[in-house]
């Protein structure tokens, strides 16, 4: 499986995602440079975390207009798999590949801690290895992860079942104190209607090896790799 990890100036989780795909899952991975509008045959494209172009305007705003994003958009429109993590999720919303926007955390501070996520949809390529209702533990590390959209759009997201992950208490129940950044409807991760574009604020790549004390995130990459392989097999 050919995987591509986009490198914007300021990306800082690019090596971490590369490590999981290459060394934990044994896939073919290459870095995709921000100012080249080419994916070099990547079947799974990952937009990693970081501060793309310094994020001095809004998280992801400048990256959304970069040359590589043109190619990512075409890939997504053809049904190809695109995963945005943290800043990558911000880039996807700024590029309108996913709905909504990510605003500064409710507490106005950067938050680095473990959160609990409930899998709302297990029928996307990214969540297929999980069970619906399963509770995952995953680290977050962001200052702007507070998901926001117009109320009627939020209703539509729910109706169309685009919400894939929600912040919950360890027992899986919705609880305001565990919605640590104040996201609308406790949204932590979203898919598009086709399920092939997926964004989340937590960092699955930081919990993909037992040596780090948590491997809840590995199945997300494993599912994506398998999903991309199936798409490729289907002769898309």
């Amino acid at each position: 499986m050919r995987c591509g990890v986009v490198v914007f100036p300021g990306s800082n989780c690019d090596h971490d995602v590369y490590h999981v795909l290459k060394h934990v899952l044994d896939q073919e991975v290459r870095f995709l440079w921000h100012d080249e509008p080419r994916l070099h045959g990547s079947e799974l494209v990952v937009l990693p975390g970081g501060w793309s172009y310094g994020d001095y305007l809004r998280g992801g705003a400048l990256a959304a207009l970069s040359p590589v994003m043109g190619a990512v958009r075409e890939h997504a429109e053809r049904g190809g798999l695109v995963l945005g993590i943290c800043n990558g999720f911000q880039v996807l919303t700024e590029a309108k590949l996913l709905p909504g926007a990510l605003r500064p955390n409710r507490g106005q501070r950067f938050e680095c801690r473990d959160v609990y996520l409930r899998v709302e949809r297990a029928d996307t390529p990214f969540t297929r290895e999980y069970a619906a209702g399963q509770v995952l533990r995953m680290p977050i590390a962001h200052g702007e992860g507070n998901y926001e959209h117009f109320p009627y759009e939020l209703d539509r997201l729910e109706r169309d079942r685009l919400v894939a992950l929600r912040y919950v208490a360890p027992d899986g129940a919705l609880a305001d104190e565990w919605n640590v950044n104040g996201s609308a409807r406790a949204i932590a991760g979203l898919a598009n209607a086709g399920g092939n574009v997926f964004g989340l604020m937590p960092h699955p790549e930081r919990c993909a090896e037992e040596v780090l004390g948590n491997s809840d995130g590995l199945a997300l990459f494993a599912g994506a790799v398998r999903g991309a392989a199936q798409l490729a097999g289907a002769g898309r």
Partner: protein, 84 residues
């Protein structure tokens, strides 16, 4: 032609930064303040002279980059042409 663009969080959206500043103002004695909205301001030298054209350009810039209209509103202000 020069212009100023101001970007604010949308009115109906909670603005935690503005709220924090408002309570800070109250703490230092400015208790009558009813609302603070914290935004960003951009000053641009547009390189065009026509006001209509400038307005169109600025609106396009705001929609494309300077503001995220999902969560932000923007205001455009054309500044008096610089004599120099």
């Amino acid at each position: 032609m020069k212009a100023r663009v101001t970007v604010y969080p949308r009115k109906e959206i909670l603005d935690p930064q503005g709220k924090a500043i408002q309570s800070a103002l109250a703490r230092v004695g400015f208790r009558s303040v009813r609302e603070v909205r914290a935004g960003k301001s951009f000053e641009l030298d547009l390189g065009v002279d026509d006001a209509q054209q400038a307005g169109d350009l600025l609106a396009a810039m705001c929609e494309k980059l300077l503001a995220n209209t999902v969560v932000e509103d923007y205001e455009i202000e054309l500044l008096a042409a610089d004599a120099s």
